[in-house]
Symmetry: C2
Subunit: 346 residues, 2 copies
């Protein structure tokens, strides 16, 4: 039975903030690494508890681009697909890319229903503010995913209006695709609205890890169209990593240093999903309290604990495994770090 | 023995973020309520574990104003004392108040070593940015405490320079005062630097609750000067609540609606300390993961669970017990709430 437990045994501490010589804050969570057969390689905490994957599964939601025929109909290229999988930082090249995507499907930014927010990238934010312009839906970190969902609506031949609602044919198809690859029935009993207004469905953590392994390996447990699409989406994201996050983004830097071997995607409220393409391993993690700095430290600790990394990779992971905090005067006051115990779960 | 445990039994969930119809994030923590004799009225979690109190004990640190003779020497009034206990929002009246405080002791903003940051209050922040001015150390939420520490330096007849360092006579005296009222020896083994650059010392959660009860009751366990000072500081803070936080600040709103019966002070990384003046009860809480929204929900849940509140008080507490979250489109996507179990610990 799927449970969304609150009591029971607590998940272990996977990251902590150290101030001076004492731990100030503790971040508990669960993670799971599985091989291409879905067998557990490593796990910590309750991996059967339901989590909201949030933006970490944009690549699973993007399966609807293939299932609906939109990918072929609009001749979507790897850049379009990477943007469909992205939580981008709102830089000029992201905005231009999503504009181009919308143009391909004969729509505009006015059709996006994700809402507007300032670019997440600091330089892009400053530049936009200095220009006196207001942020548009194109700057929303989810605008690429929404362009993809609009493409699905066009391919299905339905009105695009209200494509963010769970009963709209677009979200019905997206849900079917995600259910198929997760091998879980998603129900309105465990459903919320995401920051960008589409539904997010609760499912067990382990199923997300298994889904990423299947997507990576083009598993024969999946219908051929899904298996092919999974492989193509992961390749597109990993080889256009700057579109998936952006300048200075951890997903981007990590995917780049792994040189195609890593598909990594952050989700709000402390989630990461990913796959090591060479081994066809999938993984998923959730920080119980939703802290993003902690989730960054945990995923870096996890990727490091998996082992076999070059010094170059370890150097990139190190910047996230230990994140130094400075105060208003510039004194180093503490650091977020992944728990050393992470390695012991392997 | 004082411990700073990481493993052992986990603290209970005291707040949770609900998205749609499922809990998305869980926030564990510990709290303790004691009577005027230091006896436990209610507790949850490990109350013997060390925590950093951060800004929640500015009123204890302000005892040094009395121990050094600074309060008398500079004829400090209730507004000065309230500012010394404050984490203010950087509004005009805070800046003016701290400027006046500094003038009284013959110093200026240039002597403050807290660093500068933009006002925490949104309107004040916008106004400052629109004026083209840079934020100064006066806008730092801790500037009142720092003015107080400069007053201590003057009363001690020592150079003010470096008053933020733990070996400086000011911090040595502040530490002695806090140790005395906490009844705990503070050691460099559990010490960090705070956001405003002064030391913060780790001590067991229960001792902070007991210290607040002693301060409130003018306990005869304290030297007379401390007992009198405690009473005066709490009265000054509770009756000048707008100086302690500011417009829309929870500490301010809560103290105002309790009409003098509540001393409440937030600390960074999920801490609250306070006292119910009528009963001379003290309390302290720490959210394990440092989440401030969760800490707000927990303290509101705690004040509500203590009981005996008017409808007017409950209405103010309700706004913090359940904090609604909206997304970029303005849809209500979820809410932070205090755990209903809080009442069961009483």
């Amino acid at each position: 039975m799927m449970t969304n437990q609150a009591t029971g045994a607590a998940n272990p501490v996977l990251a902590e903030f150290v101030r001076g010589n004492m731990v100030e804050n503790r971040h508990r969570g669960a993670f799971c690494v599985v091989d291409q057969h879905g067998e557990i390689v490593a796990k910590a905490g309750d991996i059967s508890a339901l989590i909201y994957p949030r933006s970490a599964i944009k690549s699973l939601q993007a399966l609807a681009l293939f299932q609906s025929g939109a990918a072929e109909m609009f001749d979507l290229d790897d850049k379009d697909l990477a943007l469909a999988c992205a939580s981008h930082l709102g830089e000029e090249f992201h905005v231009a890319g999503v504009s181009r995507f919308l143009e391909k499907i004969g729509l505009t930014a006015a059709d996006l229903e994700c809402g507007a927010h300032l670019p997440t990238n600091k330089a892009a934010r400053k530049a936009l503010l200095a220009s006196g312009q207001q942020p548009s839906a194109l700057h929303n970190n989810c605008s690429g995913k929404h362009a993809g969902m609009l493409a699905v609506a066009k391919a299905l031949g339905v009105d695009t209006k209200g494509y963010i609602e769970s009963e709209h044919p677009v979200q019905v198809l997206v849900r079917e695709c995600v259910e198929r690859v997760l091998n879980v029935q998603l129900t309105p009993d465990h459903c919320g609205r995401d920051g960008c207004s589409i539904p997010t469905w609760g499912a067990p953590l382990i199923n997300f890890a298994q889904a990423f392994a299947k997507m990576s390996s083009g598993s024969n447990e999946l219908p051929t169209v899904y298996a092919n699409a999974g492989d193509r989406l992961f390749k597109a994201a990993a080889s256009n990593a700057e579109l998936v996050s952006g300048t200075g983004g951890f997903d981007t830097d990590a995917m780049n240093v792994f040189a195609g071997d890593l598909m990594l995607k952050i989700g709000a409220a402390g989630v990461f999903c990913g796959a090591l393409r060479g081994r066809n391993w999938g993984f998923a993690l959730k920080c119980d309290d939703g802290n993003m700095d902690a989730a960054h430290a945990i995923v870096a600790g996890l990727l490091s604990a998996i082992g076999g990394n070059s010094d170059e990779i370890e150097n990139v992971l190190k910047t996230m495994k230990v994140q130094v905090s400075k105060n208003w005067r510039g004194f180093e006051v503490g650091h977020m770090q992944s728990a050393s115990e992470i390695a012991s779960y392997f």
